[in-house]
Assembly symmetry: D2
Homo-oligomer: 280 residues x 4
């Protein structure tokens, strides 16, 4: 097994590849495999990272203590779950629903505020590649820097435009009628609805991530003020199930709440000849 | 507003475009706008479909009864929710989670069995486009035909390869080590795990959609037999929230259960030099 | 089998007894068995109510169409679920939790406002009997009359004191420091907290039933103003499970929300020598 | 404030009374107040237990560090939550539902197997007092002893008959047709269904507490074999809500699962003249 071979076989770990080492569901490590890598120390023994190069993804290696570790190809979610965080990230159950409801895909243009740790940014960048863009705003410099690093590690930087500024800042100029989706994840998303509305294409989606019922109520009421239609709010709960022969049961541990998600679709108000509309 | 203009402006409804007419959350219609379209009759009055051409997406028109209807650009999920069904579809909360966990995106190769009504097929086709493929198997001829029609309406047929056959049929030959994700949505998914394992690339994901705890238990136990690692099972619950000024509350209506979702990642068993492995 | 025997055997249906006829979980009827009863017509055939007298509870009879119907002894919840309703009742999952958390039992004194359809009233009357009392207030005359009838049918009237008045009415005089539990089920329970506080014994429980998050927030904030301690709020969800050999699964039908429940325990403010208390 | 007064006023803490000291929701202590009590040390300072005697329930005292602690009258649930445990207890959300569904109250006769830590035993004893009985079986000597102690602390021993034996033991003789409710909380409750059926009065309730779906399925299938009707299964989820002005949200911490609850009502099989019954 040489790195020459690996160039021809995408299933071989190449020099410099990031790999996810899997011991068990709670013990996984995202590392870089390199013929020059140092040893990697775990409680389950030492892994020779240099020897991983040339293995096929999905194969296993033994640690110095004889524990079996499987070499996995990291997918976007692995990068996200292993990323550096200073903020509460949006959870996969939540950002995946936003993606499906809004229909973003290769070529979609997304605006996001704030970037936070870049979890949603990373996932959405993976979906809009290769022809779309995630345009993301983060006012705090420390979050901005970390998110940039996180997205970079996942190899998706070219599909993200980072801005270290407040979307409310008057200096920010966004192309109007240009985005397919706006995701607002700030403490007061209702303040950004007009900006999002202007940036969105007609019928484009806005999603607001609201930890509290108060934020949800305010943002939904504001959305219903004529800027957006098809306004809906959901809460998504995920429970692990421990499936085992003869003793299957839901997990006792569960995250009780992450956020509510409010969404709407942009109503174009120009050219609207409805003076005589019935009040709905 | 002429159709000439609309060719240059993607935000204008063009002759032949499918549009989603939105009256309120429970009353939406997916129709084709055409200068030759007939009138469209609803309980809220008549909509002149021919006059929709040239409007901007997000604009509203009035019905003959003066009700305001907004013209929305359908996204993939709208096509799915309006598709013809003979089977229980996989729900957005579930297929979106599968997409996020497995990391599929432009270029990914997915194998699906069975196609059912094509809901998951459609969404995954939208994500793997333009360079990937969803290869889907459905033994029942009637489901196969409907799913094909449903995917076609959403304009994604070129990213789906349909087969009207049982994946277990010995005549089916799948390229091994080629797919990033296998989704098994049949009554006895454990019977397909070896076929899925062979088709998947090393470390690729299998997902099994299990309405019952018995299916979940059997398939998880079979997955753990050495073919897959990182095996986990989840249940996702979605609740609508009725957010209104001063009286926000969860909806009393809720779907209590759709399915459990079990997943694992392919372990490559060849070249595995672990005779002396500790039993884990 | 004669009614003479039944006097000596509490397991025999006596003349005049109410019985619950059980065909299947969705088809049950609460009727009065009497040797003079007319025939009882159901979709599953005719039941001769007169012949039920003298049967043992738990035995079955056949309808004229040969369907088997089991004779059940109604328990309090059966009376509640079969009672006449003009209001949304408090659900068993919710009122049973209130009962357990507050510890009411034989001898407890409960104040309730409003009575509504009397569901909670009935259950709590069954628990405080034979030495306690549920003192319940209902401003609306129609609800008051129905609730009275409902409680009467369940044979618990002697443990309930009904008042057809608004608890806020200045003419209402409640003994102070006398009740173990106050249950507030009105649109604006915070208005009643001082009255409830005064009526409760020291350390007694108040429970507020809040359909909306707004009510919950207001009442909890008011409770925390020094009148109550150990303030907590919960939401209880109940899901039916369809357990069947080889195909066990949660029910697809589920009630997504009934109410939030807020509770606290009365702090006695008199004689409180804590001028120099640290702010908590 | 003297103990003479307290004899006449049930709201005064008497010498020897158990009291629940409340600092905040996570810091409460169940102690005995006595004029001879030693000091009670907490992280929030020292409490002079001897000085609590003569205070009114609901009043507060200050610790040596000036923290305010409220003196609460323990209710049954407080005893349960503070009891010594060697087993997983049945949770209040679950045992309260069993109580409400089965309708037990003063005078009811309950059979329980096994006793475990006595949580359900304690609550049900409080409900059946003063004329009923909880007859409880526990095979393990250590659990039996702890449960006895726990029930004794709550002052309810006279309403419980403890047996340190296996209900399956042939030496156990139960009066037939005598109990209103049987609660089975063992690993294989289906083995006890015939015994429970025989002990129950006609139409009496059996409840089985099942942590796993497998237990649930087996016990429900066995119940449906003709011994019981009105068989149903539920799962109850409880979520804390953090209600605060302007930032109300469900708690992020949640217990994802405790148990499933299966129930049925005894069908009397004797005297059943239904040879020609339609198969249902």
């Amino acid at each position: 097994m040489t790195s020459d071979l690996s160039l021809e076989n995408p299933d071989l770990v190449k020099d410099g590849d990031r790999v996810l080492l899997y011991l068990d569901p709670r013990r996984t490590w995202l590392v870089q495999a390199s013929i020059e890598s140092p040893q990697f120390h775990t409680h389950a023994g030492i892994v020779e990272l240099s020897k991983i190069v040339g293995h096929r993804f999905g194969e296993s290696v033994l640690t110095s203590l004889g524990e079996r570790i499987t070499i996995l190809r990291p997918v976007t979610l692995d990068y996200i779950m292993k990323s550096e965080r200073r903020t509460q990230i949006v959870y996969p159950k939540d950002f995946s629903y936003i993606a499906a409801r809004s229909g973003i895909r290769n070529g979609s243009k997304v605006i996001e505020c704030g970037t936070g740790s870049g979890a949603l940014t990373t996932y959405f960048a993976s979906l809009v590649a290769t022809e779309g863009l995630v345009h993301t705003f983060e006012a705090r410099e420390d979050f901005y820097s970390i998110a940039k690093k996180n997205v970079s590690k996942s190899g998706l930087s070219q599909f993200v435009k980072f801005e270290n500024t407040n979307l409310l800042d008057p200096s920010v100029v966004l192309r109007s009628n240009s985005y397919d989706l706006a995701v607002l994840d700030t403490g007061d998303p209702w303040l950004l609805l007009k900006i999002a509305h202007n940036a969105l294409r007609g019928s484009g989606f806005v999603f607001c991530i609201c930890p509290t019922t108060n934020q949800l109520e305010t943002v939904v009421e504001t959305m219903k003020d004529g800027l957006f239609c098809d306004v809906e709010s959901v809460e998504i709960m995920l429970r692990q199930i421990e499936a085992r022969a003869g003793k299957t049961r839901p997990s006792m541990r569960m995250i009780g709440h992450t956020c509510y998600i409010a969404s709407g679709r942009k109503v174009q108000q120009e050219n609207l000849d409805i003076e005589n509309v019935k009040s709905s």
